[in-house]
Symmetry: C4
Subunit: 320 residues, 4 copies
């Protein structure tokens, strides 16, 4: 059980969006990628899932696979229809008697119709085949319309492209201690008017029960005009901090979790972008300092930001 | 007639966007889905309707039907044209003499042109047929362009996906009473920086005439950093509330209507989303309290939000 | 020459974006539709014109015509190419010897290629024809891609759909006078958090020279939560107004121009929309009041907003 | 070495996003076009590059070339496949024995499939050819979907279209001196609610080391309601300025760099747009004043903004 630490003098907030009831919570609150560690139930899957959100967040490989699977399924369905009404309703195809060969001809006609390539060496004959072909090309265009939109949405989705240092340091700072982490944009994007908001969750015993308490953390600099180089975010562990007298052990015992939101304006997207992450005690390094991660280029004409040094730190003695 | 209640001490607002003149108003001000209960007249329909807004708000089934209907109409129109200039202007089609069969051939050629599938077993012959076919494929591409855009717009439309508890409770709160309702996001979206704005409309007699008065309601928490779990919105019925001395009967007599606007930032859409709703006295439960709707998962690794419990409440005694 | 009016006590602003130098200005500052009455020169047309902006603002008819014209031009250009290399490079086309007929065949082949309908009864033969056809279908798809985007952009462009009363009234108000105009949304859209900003320009003589002075006008209500019904915007002509002692004649002599910007949030577009307009002395009615424009519906279930009454006003005596 | 100038009394800011460590910086901080003069390393190229951002910023010519190159590559790849499986799997093509001629036929069939024009005079025969053709038309549609989106994104990208005067002047102003530059929108767009933010970087010696110091500059007018005409941005060199006692030589010695961000609302895009630029001592003209750049049109009906005069200035004597 921890000593009664100084956080008692600080004002916990109740608008973190999380519950102070530790017994209702499982695991960390926010995952590294910024998603809330939460599942929802009691609503049918199709209502609970936003197809749009899901497709937006799939990785490229899975997305391509999904699109290809849908294309193949549509093709197979229509091929079956053509096959069922009889392959002789397709002029240019020849009834071979072989199931597989006949079905393939229907399948290829179907794919030529779905993509509207329509070579014409196979063409529909009669009312039913024509109606199905007409429907298929219509459905083909509609489906590709959706896929076009989805491709574009994935491609153009405003993202912050921020990388955070994997570790959170307790570093020496102005004669005292400070919590520090570092971030930088890693793509050819540029953020302006960036704001950082940091909330810490600590789990403490109160009247024999474990409760989760949330505190906003004051930052040395919480707004930056232009996120050009790296940005080291610093919370000084002084009298105003709820963690003022936390020892290395306290950070572990209280199972701290630091939740971070960065909001900025990306002038390529002309949109506000946001990225979130969190640090737990497992990612905390007690007694260390970050080393510089940028330098003048060899020819002196530009500044070089070395992203591989984002987490570079060396041990440092902390004042007592 | 109601007793003169405490709302007289509160300052009514006149920027609610609604009229204080009760005799000009019909029914509730805002529908459950957040739309204003209002019709507009005096402007021709085509000016009064934003086709874009209408198509955005159609449900999926009606939208698909609409698109399909337009496709069929376009097809029929062009088929008629080909039929009128004579089926012999379509090489590959054969004049059967049967009206229906001839028209069908024109129709199928038309659909092959509109979707640009163009098999070619039927093809236009002569100036007129070629010009029409050229126009049709052009119009086809234009129409599908519009539909593509519309599909995407519907699909990607920023929405808050918030579900509100069907009931508004008068619940015991900090030794007094409070108006409470609960909300949660029900999809795999995540809202941050959520703001709630609540306005109440009450209908009261003033100098023998019924007037509608509007009051902003102060909330215990009106801003939340992260809408992770559920959010119970609380308006305490204390001295600062215009409803301080409302009895259960008063809520009914004054035909209260509580109008709610939630505004938040969705970091998937990277956009501000807004959702509105309203509660009337019919949805008010006097003397009840909400029960918890989330719990630790069985394996303790995440939190489970049970959406089916969004409205779960039990009777509760109110202080007098 | 006007008497020295009370505006001298008010603080003119210099951040209106317009020039105080009347002799440099021509005509009204802002047109009725909110565009600035300004032309730019000294830059080549192609740099001065944002094609995107222009296409966005064309009316539907002109836009359709433009697209159709481009389609025809592209078609004609490629038809000429096919014709130049010789019609015998198009299998299925027959050399008729007649210039017009031959060109038409090239033209129709071109349109079938551009729209990718590709029936195939005419097809390219030989290297040159094939390369041109390959280019044309590529260019066709690219062009239609642009048009698709443009169609969608026009269709989905966030607009406020606000209608302003054609007249600006000087009306009796709270025992004094006030400048009033009225606005309402006329489509099935809904605006929330609407803000009005009003600036007045007056032309006055100062040391023998006419200068334009700009004043922000204070409004009775400049923010409205929900723009449900109509909104009457009121500027009281009291001591704080720069126009406090303006007579009917002064409004004319000083050639007033009132510039209005309405900014609001449209929750269908999930976007901020803005609309501007201006009133000059020609649209001012001195001594009138607006009549109500909404009423309860016959069955009492909704409110009816009668847009044809937006400008409905009756003469009214003004206090002296 | 410069005299110790008055900037010592001003408060330097540390949230400029740049480093105060001059020895780590190379060249100017911000390029003329507003991009940060920075390169990033330590991350593989494909992670460091946002394809979307790159395609957005290519000029039109390079973009068209890129798209065309991809189209040709895709075509060549598929043509090779058809060629490899043998040209006799393409009905309508004839095996000529000539490598080049055979490959060309495969190439043209490929392009007809990729663009879905599918004339059909060449068509796939057999399982393998059909599968490849089916894949190709699918890939064709997907690729064109991406290109469609990209075209639209480039076309509709919210841009401020602001032109800055190439020179920064030190001009006489209100009996003293002021830093001035001028800007105007040069397209048929219209910006409202424009904000200017100006930061100056100066390189000075402190304890024998060159450090970069950043100061926000106070502006005479930093917000403008409507960016109708030109906007001259003025920073007075008075007591409150960190550059109060800068001589012409100091501007050079300290290698000043003025970084500018303009943020405004474009009501056509209905979006916030932002443009950045910077001035160094090389673009500074000491002792000059801007000349007017707008005038009444000949017929007096509008104002004419002459963009060619944006940088027009004449020498002017500065007070000492």
């Amino acid at each position: 059980m921890p000593r009664t630490p100084g956080y008692k003098h600080s004002k916990a907030i109740d608008n973190s969006g999380f519950s102070p009831n530790s017994s209702a919570e499982g695991g960390r609150l926010t995952n590294k990628d910024g998603r809330i560690n939460l599942k929802k139930s009691g609503v049918p899957l199709y209502e609970r899932i936003s197809v749009y959100h899901s497709l937006l967040h799939m990785n490229n490989f899975v997305f391509t696979l999904t699109v290809f699977a849908i294309y193949t399924c549509l093709n197979l369905s229509f091929a079956s229809l053509y096959f069922l009404i009889g392959i002789d309703h397709l002029a240019g195809a020849h009834r071979s008697g072989d199931f597989f060969e006949d079905f393939l001809q229907a399948f290829f006609f179907s794919s030529q119709t779905l993509t509207t390539v329509g070579y014409g060496h196979i063409s529909p004959v009669g009312f039913v085949a024509n109606v199905i072909a007409s429907m298929e090309s219509f459905i083909g265009i509609m489906s590709f319309a959706l896929v076009t939109g989805m491709f574009y949405a994935r491609f153009s989705r405003p993202k912050a492209y921020i990388r955070f240092s994997p570790n959170l340091l307790v570093a020496p700072f102005q004669g005292g201690r400070a919590l520090m982490f570092r971030l930088a944009t890693y793509k050819n994007n540029h953020l302006t008017d960036a704001d950082a908001q940091v909330t810490i969750a600590i789990h403490v015993e109160e009247s024999g029960k474990t409760v989760t308490k949330f505190y906003p953390l004051e930052l040395e600099i919480s707004h930056i005009n232009s996120l050009a180089l790296s940005w080291t975010i610093v919370h000084k562990l002084d009298e105003k901090s709820p963690l003022v007298d936390f020892t290395e052990e306290d950070f572990n015992t209280c199972r701290i979790e630091m939740m971070i939101t960065i909001k900025a304006f990306d002038d390529h997207f002309s949109n506000t972008v946001q990225q979130r992450t969190s640090y737990t005690q497992d990612e905390l390094v007690y007694g260390a300092r970050f080393l510089p991660m940028y330098a003048r280029s060899d020819d002196g004409s530009y500044t070089n930001l070395m992203l591989e040094k984002l987490n570079l730190h060396e041990p440092a003695t902390l004042p007592t």
